[in-house]
């Protein structure tokens, strides 16, 4: 069984084929790397997997299902409900003046008790014959609008996040002005059960859950090794720690698949070593890792399998050893550059 199955994926931006017919599959508890020269389409693959881009063709399946909102009876019911509400609203809005004049003003005598039943009857009489056209227009507009919104939000990052895909970003995207702890707590958001009213009134659930969430957030921070910075703003961390915080935030989602987009970029050799250890430890926790990386030392050191992209196409796939010797890969990397091309700066 495969965990993530990218099947004949093609993504076009206008005339540009960023990803062309790429097939990659990731099995549970594997570390798979996606490598390739700049602009090969690696991050685009990531963005499709996490629901940021819509694939032009092909499918991305996560634990056997397509990662998008399914059309189920709740959806149909929701659409119908929006349609009915819009219909009623429009029917009332169009007739509001005559309704008010007949039902309210017509029946109200100053400082006398108001005959509610009579008002209701006159309201029905006023509406009779005048509601059909606006209501049907409202129904159609409501359903069409709601459907368009649903269609466009079918594939959203939060859907894939809830399915169990967590990711980090190539250029770190932390919530810079939030504390380290709050960053991790945002990652935990999907597991929390506190609702608005719990929070507003500080009901017991709020306190209990806050205690538990903060405890496990600290645990995760300790796991990646930055628990001493708990209450600092995220932007004040060093570059390497920011990368670690991003991983911690992603791990807080309790993902099945962790997608790391160039986690070693900008790290010194020491930090890189630490990162490799961390990724191995993450795998030991039962999380599958899909990795984009330029640091060949990292890629060759920890990957179970490697897929190589070049100009949007997959040119090789296999174990580190196989990929290393593949003439196509060597050409893609070394073709233009003489020597040292395998080493990232």
């Amino acid at each position: 069984m495969t965990l993530l199955d990218i099947n004949e994926l093609t993504v076009k931006f206008g005339g540009l084929k960023a990803v062309n017919n790429v097939t990659v599959s990731v099995s549970p508890n594997e570390i798979v790397s996606l490598i390739g020269p700049n602009g090969a389409g690696k991050t685009t693959v990531f963005n499709v997997c996490t629901g940021i881009y819509e694939p032009t063709s092909g499918r991305v399946c996560f634990s056997g299902t397509d990662v998008c909102r399914p059309f189920c009876w709740q959806t149909a019911l929701g659409l119908a409900l929006v349609g009915v509400i819009t219909a009623k609203f429009l029917a009332l809005a169009v007739n509001i003046e005559s309704l008010w004049a007949n039902a309210i003003t017509g029946n109200y005598v100053y400082q006398q008790p108001f005959p509610w039943m009579k008002a209701l009857i006159s309201a029905r009489e006023t509406l009779a014959g005048h509601w059909v056209l606006p209501a049907s227009i409202g129904f159609v507009v409501g359903i069409a609008g709601a459907f368009a919104v649903w269609q466009r939000s079918r594939r959203a990052p939060e859907i894939s996040a809830r399915a169990g895909i967590a990711r980090t970003f190539q250029n770190i995207r932390l919530f810079n002005q939030m504390t380290v702890l709050n960053n991790v707590l945002i990652g935990m958001d999907t597991q929390l059960r506190t609702q608005l009213w719990h929070a507003a009134l500080r009901l017991p659930l709020f306190w209990r859950e806050r205690r538990e969430a903060e405890k496990s957030a600290v645990e995760i921070l300790r796991f990646v090794g930055i628990d001493r910075h708990l209450n600092e703003l995220a932007e004040n961390l060093s570059y390497g720690d920011q990368r670690r915080l991003e991983i911690a935030r992603a791990l807080a989602m309790k993902p099945k698949l962790l997608m790391l987009d160039e986690p070693a970029a900008g790290m010194n050799p020491n930090e890189t070593q630490g990162l490799m250890g961390l990724i191995r430890k993450i795998r030991e926790r039962g999380v599958t890792v899909l990795l984009i990386e330029h640091h060949m030392q990292v890629v060759m050191g920890i990957s179970d399998r490697i897929a190589v992209l070049d100009h949007g196409e997959k040119i090789a796939e296999g174990t580190p050893k196989e990929v290393c010797c593949d003439p196509k890969v060597i050409e893609a990397y070394l073709g233009k550059d003489e020597g040292g091309g395998m080493r990232d700066e």
Binding site: A101, Q111, G145, R152, F175, Q177, I186, L196, A199, R202
Partner: protein, 325 residues
């Protein structure tokens, strides 16, 4: 803990104020209402980062709902508490109705839509004169059941408490994460649309409450023209001057912005009049006529010297001043 005691101190001071200075407590009532309006906008603009230029419309919705539900020329006559509760709910629904179709717009586009919404509400109120009495406004409204100073202070305290609770919970955290980085937030599983809609609903409900209190304060719904763009801008100024995303800041902002108008300028005018330094024939000598220019000047100076506001929230301050520490 120290901060917490300060809050109680302020509250106690505010509660004792009417005994010390009846005039000042009189002047403070509209400030309380504007503070509630500012806090409503603060949820949208300060926490969630949605620029809303039409909060006056929500205020109008609240004021007119309250007026229609209490005035004795209509059959409802719910009384103060019922009408205020209903106004809050109606504001909530109005927020959701505006939010649902527009929530996917970003930044400037959403601001333009809210600006348009403000104008639409104002024009609708003007033209639906069967219901709203057009430009006359609805009056007279019955007086609130309690002394309005304490009533407004109580409402303001409850609103502040709820806002603070929300800010320091999952909800506020999600709002702030959306302000910081919407894409990253949604990749973390935060339901961005739902949270934005919640912000819209709660912000609108608070603005609507401010409107209802305003109507009870005036004893009239006021005319539709009272709820124009200027009110929205003053609300925005309250939030910006006080400090975006900071509840204490918004309170201070309301005090400064509205207080400047009703306390400082008035006292100054009275002083000038007493010493016969202004003539009634020359409008340029009346300080009240310069108020928007002074506002503008104050805003420019703020933006230059203290862009994060008078009492900034920690996080926004960090956003605007990159300290090396």
């Amino acid at each position: 803990m120290k901060r917490f005691r300060f809050h109680w101190l302020f509250l106690a001071g505010a509660a004792l104020l009417p005994m010390v200075s009846p005039h000042l407590s009189e002047v403070l009532r509209p400030i309380f209402i504007m503070a509630i309006l500012g806090l409503g906008l603060n949820i949208l603009t300060g926490f969630t980062g949605i620029l809303n230029l039409g909060v006056a419309a929500f205020m109008a919705v609240g004021a007119y709902s309250y007026a229609i539900l209490t005035c004795d020329i209509y059959p409802f006559q719910l009384g103060f508490w019922g009408a205020t509760g209903a106004a809050i709910l109606i504001g909530l629904v109005a927020g959701v109705l505006l939010g649902l179709p527009t929530i996917r717009l970003r930044g400037d586009y959403l601001a333009i839509v809210t600006l348009g919404f403000g104008e639409i509400v104002q024009d609708s109120l003007k033209n639906l004169d069967v219901i709203t009495k057009g430009t006359q406004g609805i009056n007279p409204l019955p007086a609130p059941p309690h002394p309005s100073y304490f009533l407004f202070l109580g409402f303001l305290s409850v609103v502040v408490l709820i806002n603070r609770n929300l800010e320091r919970s999952r909800v506020g955290r999600a709002w702030i994460s959306i302000r910081e980085d919407e894409l990253a937030a949604s990749c973390m599983g935060v339901n961005v649309m739902k949270m934005k809609l919640t912000a819209f609903a709660l912000g609108a409900a608070q603005c609507s409450l401010a409107g209802a209190l305003w109507a009870s304060f005036l004893g009239s719904s006021g005319e539709p023209g009272n709820y124009d763009f200027q009110i929205s801008i003053i609300a925005l100024c309250i939030v910006i001057v006080g400090g975006m995303g900071s509840i204490g800041g918004v309170l201070l902002g309301a005090l400064v912005m509205v207080g400047f108008n009703t306390i400082v300028l008035e006292t100054f005018t009275n002083f000038l009049k007493a010493h016969q330094l202004i003539s009634s024939t020359n409008v340029f000598t009346a300080p009240g006529n310069w108020k928007y220019m002074l506002f503008g000047l104050a805003l420019i100076l703020m933006m230059r010297f203290r862009p994060e506001g008078l009492l900034p929230s920690k996080s926004v301050k960090a956003e605007l001043h990159h300290d090396p520490s």
